[in-house]
Amino acid sequence: MVQAPKTHARPLDVESAIERAAQISALADADRLRVLSAIATAPTEALPLDSIARRISMDADEVAGALDALGRAGLVIREADGAASLTADAWVRFGRVLIAGAAVTAAPAVQHNALELPAAVQRIALDLQYRYSSVFSPETVRRYVGESYALLSERARITTYLPTLTARFATDRLSALATSRGVILRGTPEVLFVCVHNAGRSQMASAALRHMTGSRVHVRTAGSVPASRVDPAIVEVLEEVGVAVPLEFPKPLTDEVVQASDYVITMGCGDACPVYPGRRYMDWPLADPAGKPKDVVRRVRDEVFSRVERLVSELRVPAVAPLPSTSR
């Protein structure tokens, strides 16, 4: 599951593994776990050292030692006045351990009206409804996002990160719910193809990827300077080999669409594409087929097909249909 949207998870790189291992080892101690959970379950977002000590009847020096270790592992932040609060990593990676029950119970009583949620959180709900469309009803997803937001906003000090945290937390809880129902959730990879006009290369790549993977991958396209329509020559060279061109129109590149993607593949307009952490960026140096003779367009098509085949194997998604073998 997971993915989290778990996505077609990729193995951890060495740095991430070292960071997580250090966090686990900082937590492999009952006193430190109790300190962290005292902060997590407190009614306020940040808790002064003496309040922590009182909550769990622990010596103040021991609490201070535990906080230092947790701080070094990036699990706790100290405010200027010494009060401690949890980091996003602590919530996301270990929240389940700290507030056992609360985060995983399936049906909290409170209903949150989606209309009352801030716009950024409503967008998260829409995103997750799309991602989890094969597993949960839109109502379920909305309810989880609303509750996650309420849970986090009760204790958040820095509201800037609230939407991001809400997305991670809600995703996490939905994955847990899916697992508890025995659904193996791998998450559907989100792939975005970006070219200058969103009329040629990105449309070919999108058609090829949809042809190969059907609904197992969510494919989107965008252009930095979108044209008014898809180039008819592109449609022609795809249809002549039996690859259908989905009904699409060139669209501008927006932040949201990049943020919603796991893979962002640019073709000659990398500079215009905003970069966010956690996405996989690739650049495919393909010639622009606009206005070129038919045989040039076909060569670009064949190059796109080869690259899409490699992408599919990297995504670890089973292909439902092979791409037609052309002159490649």
Partner: protein, 68 residues
């Protein structure tokens, strides 16, 4: 190792898969697998000649959190 298993198709991998993915020797992998099987994090299933490793369902959520 957990991230390789969690990210594999079907959520399972063999010791050989892990050794290839991580560039480690099979005895090293086997040693760590043994610890995680004893602890209940990993499940080991023999199918034919291959031993397949997967993340134990009751630990899957916690492992998923950690890999996020």
């Amino acid at each position: 190792m957990l991230s390789v298993i969690a990210g594999s198709p079907g959520g399972e991998a063999t010791v050989g898969d892990l050794a290839d993915a991580l560039g480690l020797r099979q005895p090293t992998i086997t040693h760590h697998v043994g610890i995680m099987v004893d602890d209940g994090v990993l499940l080991r299933e023999q199918r034919g000649r291959q031993v397949w490793l997967s993340i134990s369902p009751d630990r899957e959520a916690a492992v998923g959190d950690l890999l996020r």
